[in-house]
């Protein structure tokens, strides 16, 4: 009633009822209209309809009770007919068949009138008065006794027939016949009194536990009615409604028990849509209006089931999401096309699927309890048992709507750039959800924060794995294109623009319609400040230098500020370090020195732990779950006794055709006294996460950051410092920098003065000076006295690409190109 539309409708109806210009219904006009309709039906060869219409209207007009009068043909009668005639819509095109009245056979009156009327009178007196014969006196009792026995016989036969009929019903319900051996043998002669009474009890017992087929309308109110006054509220309410409104028609016609409602609710929450009590229209579940329970009115039943129906709808939405993702992944695998579903989505799907599976297991347990009927089960108890799960469903559904469904309508041919946006959005939504849940964790009874954290950890695993591969192994493996950075394949590793152009942002916001790369390329020459991070080898310190931006627009692709605005929120503090580490790893690989920075802490046959494994391990340690064990869980070493080993080795080597003494010696040398067991790494990873259920930890996100960031930063320090060290020691980086400073930034003014003096004189005298060899000579003369070591590295040429139309004097030397090898 608070809805604005409802108020508008009420005011509209009110104004129409009060201020209209219609005349009162005229009985003559209505009769004429009905006659006209009958004629129309006859013209359309629908004579039966005309007959039915005439009959029904006559019947209706003869009905009494309307308008409080005991006569027919009142104003109300004509008003209703007028209303129906006005609302009629193409009656000739609609099929109509009159409802056949069910003629119920009258119940045979089996009341014993004779006994009632005679009222136990002693009929012997009457017979005694009419006859003096003693024999009559003696015979009469026998006659009456016979009559009594006949009555008893008839009653017994009737009872037997009734029991036989009931037993037939039970047998039919079971679907078995006499020949199955399930039922005791009985005679088919209905008049026979062979039937045993104890089998009837069994049938009755079976009939009691058999579920009534309420979905076929076979439930009866009499079977469901309870003895408590409050258990028949629906019936009392209907009675009250019918009393105040004689035209009240109850909509619901099929009675169900609360247990049946509970069972169907459990099925509905499991994701089953084909139900009787609940109807699914493709969007949401609704209560079947034909169903009612005895102890609740229709409105209260609807309101109590509404939260569960909403949650069931959310479960269906999540299930369909999981199915869609799995089918998309499978179809892309089978067709061999590029992966269009981000791995982040797949990871999220996995965690949602696992959660739904756990939820269904819980529902299954509840269903078993319901079937056992060992404890009282009601809707209230069901809500209480499922409360923690329902809250989690709400949260997961909210994440799905905000993080996935909101961008699902984006249609873009280039799915790789969109995947970055999608993955980042999903991770940001999850991060925000964990943050908000963490804030309310003190009053959070259902440990939602820990649950969401688990989902976030599982969902962020692909992105962390991409970073891990890049900074540990130098490989940027991103099959779905969901990482924030992508490799520019046009730029090779040894290209001089590698550092600026090799890795570019991957983010493409659909609302902007352009990638950030496109935006930066459209703004050449803008003076933006870049933040670049370099590392010093001696003290392993990072220094931040602000370098004024050049006019080259391509340099802006490397803006760390750009990265700071992209990607998942919780990765932004380390994104810059990760990018620099990745670039350094590729540079080291190109220089052939990557082996020096690979993880050397593990044994040769061990796989080094990934960033994700280290992160989870530290998280578990800080949460206090495991002791500090730095061994990767993929490898467990157990000593084996010599006798056991000999048995295994001997058995293998003694196989005919395979005995090799040299092999035996080599085997003993390599693996002397240990036996190796490689355990499933995946099992270790999944076992780690379910233990995160501690609800007492404050600030979960900060804890996660403290476990993840140090690993990235330490890797950054190791790799970048190693690269700088190599560049300094083997590639004379400092010499190059000093040379740049001297010749390009003009720090040694004397060299520039000496070199340019000759040129300016030539220009002033309007002499020819565009000779490469002449410039080379001038350069050597200027550099040799001060920096003889740079002589072999410097060359000067004259470029012909410069625009000759430029008339300014200052631009005349733009054609000179100085190169430093």
């Amino acid at each position: 009633e608070s809805d604005e539309n409802f108020r508008l409708c009420v005011s509209f109806a009110d104004s129409n009822f009060k201020y209209h210009r219609y005349l009162s219904p005229d009985s003559h006009k209505i009769h004429r209209a009905i006659d006209g309709l009958c004629e129309k039906f006859e013209v359309h060869s629908q004579k039966q309809k005309a007959v039915d219409l005439k009959e029904l209207t006559t019947l209706f007009l003869d009905q009494t009770g309307l308008d409080g009068k005991d006569t027919g043909k009142t104003d109300v009668h004509y008003a209703l007919l007028s209303l129906i005639l006005n609302l009629a819509e193409s009656p000739t095109k609609k099929d109509f068949h009159r409802k056949k009245k069910d003629i119920l056979p009258e119940k045979p009156d089996d009341f014993d009138w004779k006994n009632y009327l005679l009222d136990d009178e002693d009929l012997n007196i009457m017979s005694f008065a009419s006859s003096d014969s003693e024999t009559d006196e003696e015979s009469l009792p026998d006659t009456y006794e016979d009559e009594d026995t006949d009555d008893d016989e008839n009653n017994r036969k009737k009872l037997q027939q009734q029991l036989l009929a009931e037993s037939d019903q039970v047998a039919h319900a079971f679907g078995v016949g006499d020949g199955d051996g399930f039922l005791p043998a009985r005679s088919h002669d209905r008049g026979s009194d062979v039937l045993k009474v104890d089998t009837t009890d069994e049938y009755q017992q079976l009939a009691q536990i058999l579920t009534v087929e309420y979905w076929k309308g076979k439930s009866k109110e009499e079977d469901v009615v309870g003895s408590h006054a409050a258990s028949n509220l629906a019936r009392d309410w209907k009675y009250y409604q019918s009393q105040i409104n004689e035209f009240y028609t109850p909509q619901a016609g099929i009675v169900v028990t609360e247990l049946q409602v509970v069972r169907e609710t459990v099925w509905m929450l499991s994701g089953i849509t084909e139900l009787f009590i609940f109807k699914y229209d493709g969007k949401e579940f609704r209560l079947n209006p034909d169903v009612y329970v005895m102890h609740l009115t229709a409105e209260s039943l609807e309101s109590s089931l509404r939260p569960l129906m909403r949650k069931a709808t959310q479960v269906c939405v999540l299930q369909s999401f999981v199915t869609d993702i799995v089918s998309q992944v499978c179809s892309s695998i089978s067709s061999g096309e590029a992966q269009c579903v981000p791995q982040t989505y797949q990871a999220f799907t996995g965690s949602v699927s696992a959660f739904l599976a756990d939820f269904k297991r819980q529902l299954h347990k509840i269903e078993k309890d319901v079937m056992k009927q060992e404890r009282v089960m009601s809707l209230e108890r069901l809500m209480f048992d499922l409360n923690p799960w329902l809250a989690k469903i709400q949260v997961v559904h909210g994440v799905y709507i905000s993080g996935i469904a909101s961008v699902a309508s984006i249609s873009d041919n280039d799915c790789s750039t969109n995947n970055c946006f999608r993955a980042s959005l999903l991770l940001n939504v999850l991060y925000q959800a964990v943050f908000e849940a963490d804030l309310t964790s003190l009053c959070d009874q259902e440990s939602q924060a820990c649950f969401l954290l688990q989902v976030l950890l599982k969902t962020s695993e692909p992105v962390i794995q991409i970073i891990s591969d890049w900074i540990n192994n130098g490989q940027l493996r991103d099959p779905a294109g969901e990482f924030i950075v992508q490799r520019n394949k046009k730029i090779l590793s040894l290209n001089e623009t590698f550092w600026e152009k090799a890795f570019v942002p991957n983010m493409k916001s659909p609302s902007e319609g352009l990638s950030l790369l496109d935006i930066t390329l459209q703004k050449p020459g803008s003076q933006e400040t870049l933040n670049r991070t370099t590392s010093k080898t001696t003290k392993n310190q990072t220094t931040h230098r602000k370098v004024s931006g050049s006019s080259s627009s391509t340099a802006k692709c490397d803006q760390p500020d750009v990265f700071l605005k992209l990607g998942p929120q919780f990765l932004q503090p380390i994104l810059n370090d990760a990018v620099l580490t990745g670039k350094s790893m590729e540079m080291l690989e190109t220089l052939g020195r990557m082996a020096e920075v690979l993880d050397v802490d593990c044994e040769i046959y061990e796989r080094p732990p990934s960033l994700y494994e280290l992160f989870i391990r530290d998280l578990r340690m800080k949460m206090g779950f495991v002791s500090e064990d730095r061994r990767p869980c993929s490898l467990i070493v157990t000593p084996v006794t010599a006798s056991e080993k000999d048995t295994v080795v001997d058995r293998q080597l003694n196989v005919p055709g395979e005995k090799d003494t040299l092999l035996n010696i080599n085997f003993a040398t390599i693996f002397p006294d240990i036996d190796l067991k490689i355990e499933d790494n995946r099992k270790c990873k999944t076992d780690l996460l379910p233990e995160l259920s501690n609800n007492d930890l404050p600030d979960l996100l900060r804890l996660c950051e403290s476990c993840l960031y140090p690993h990235v930063r330490s890797r950054y320090k190791i790799v970048c410092s190693k690269l700088v060290q190599i560049l300094k020691s083997e590639y004379h980086l400092m010499d190059c920098i000093h040379a740049m400073q001297r010749y390009y930034l003009m720090s040694s003014g004397e060299v520039a003065y000496d070199f340019y003096t000759h040129i300016f004189q030539k220009i002033m005298n309007r002499e020819f000076w565009h000779s490469g060899s002449m410039l080379e000579l001038y350069l050597h003369e200027a550099v040799a006295p001060r920096f003889p070591q740079d002589l072999s590295k410097l060359t000067v040429t004259v470029s012909t690409d410069v625009n000759q139309k430029e008339k300014r004097a200052i631009n005349q030397t733009d054609c000179i190109q100085l190169k430093y090898k």
């Binding site: 539309n5 409708c9 509209f12 109806a13 129409n16 009822f17 209209h20 219609y22 005349l23 009162s24 219904p25 309709l37 309809k49 039915d52 219409l53 029904l56 209207t57 019947l59 209706f60 009905q63 009494t64 009770g65 309307l66 308008d67 005991d70 109300v76 008003a79 209703l80 007919l81 007028s82 209303l83 129906i84 005639l85 006005n86 609302l87 009629a88 819509e89 193409s90 009656p91 095109k93 609609k94 109509f96 009159r98 409802k99 019918s242 009393q243 409104n245 004689e246 035209f247 009240y248 028609t249 909509q251």
Partner: protein
């Protein structure tokens, strides 16, 4: 003789049934609950043509919203 409540109820039920039959025959699209409400409104004195207009208008607006 005054009709007892049971007879009244039966008569009312029969009236509604007949009205619903006529309504089905003429394809008005009214269900039992709506018919009962319309009956009550007509008994209260609402003009049937105005009521029909309101019903048509509400149906149109509902269809537009959907």
């Amino acid at each position: 003789m005054a009709a007892n409540p049971n007879q009244k109820s039966a008569a009312a039920s029969q009236t509604i049934d007949i009205l619903m039959e006529i309504s089905r025959l003429l394809n008005t699209g009214l269900d039992e609950e709506t018919m009962a409400i319309c009956l009550r409104l007509c008994e209260s004195g609402v003009n049937p043509e105005a009521l029909a207009e309101v019903i048509r208008e509400l149906r149109r607006e509902t269809a537009n919203i959907k």
